[in-house]
């Protein structure tokens, strides 16, 4: 198994291979840490966070079988019914390369609320990353990291993205997203 090839590091190669399969079956976005890393942030991660649109069991089964045929397996269960049950209950499911349960792993969740639906509608590809992958927008990533996640690592990711996209960031949009996060995720007044 080739891990990192040429201009692609191990995380790039894993994500590209996985997203090629995803793309055939469902609309998706990669969010959070890998967004910052693929924009040059000098750190690594064990999991790539991905959100996919809700899909029927039949469609998910086809996706799962395609992932299986491309060398990925779910570490929580090998039964597709169980995996779909995790997703339906708003939990994440994790896929790794076959032959290991070790990272990198792809963490997948279904869209769960209006915030995710907007993230999905406003998804983007970023030339700077050199990757043919759909990401959630820079504004969404900054808002989540500054308003919800807030660990030192997340605040540094947000700062990194703010510097990279200096002069191009829609601050009004970030504030609107933060307001939605407070209401829908933190259950506070906007």
């Amino acid at each position: 198994m080739e891990r990192g090839v040429g201009d692609r590091n191990i995380l790039d190669a894993f994500t590209i291979d996985f997203c090629k399969v995803l793309e055939k079956h469902v609309k998706y976005i990669v969010v959070s840490g890998f967004v910052a890393i693929s924009h040059g942030r000098r750190r690594t991660t064990e999991d790539i966070d991905t959100i996919i649109e809700k899909m029927s069991f039949e469609k998910f089964k086809k996706l799962h079988e395609d992932l299986d045929s491309h060398g990925f397996h779910c570490i929580q269960s090998s039964k597709v019914e169980d995996i779909y049950d995790y997703l339906e209950k708003k939990d994440s499911v994790r896929y790794v390369r076959k032959g290991t349960v070790l990272p990198p792993e792809m963490e997948i969740k279904f869209v769960k609320d209006e915030i995710d639906e907007i993230q999905m509608r406003t998804r983007k590809k970023f030339e700077l990353t050199g990757l043919d992958i759909w990401f959630s927008s820079i504004e969404f990533n900054i808002a989540f990291k500054e308003e919800l996640l807030k660990t030192p690592k997340d605040m540094e990711d947000a700062k990194h993205l703010r510097i990279i996209y200096k002069g191009e960031i829609d601050e009004h949009f970030i504030n609107e997203i933060k307001k939605m996060i407070r209401i829908l995720r933190l259950k506070r007044e906007g």
Partner: protein, 70 residues
Amino acid sequence: MRDKSHMEAVERWAEFVRTHPRSEWKPAVDALVNATYEKADEFYVRLKETEKGREILKRLMEDRISRVKR
């Protein structure tokens, strides 16, 4: 808690990425990501070489699976 100098280093690096072509910053990111995974892989291979190591590896894997299960 990380000190102020850590964030300053993050800012300096981000400024470098912003002002330089991808070909100048990407190799540094790739080296760090690949080295982290390669060192971990080397460690797991070493664990497989002894009975005690295999037990540790089994525990690590069981722990990883149990953490992601409900």
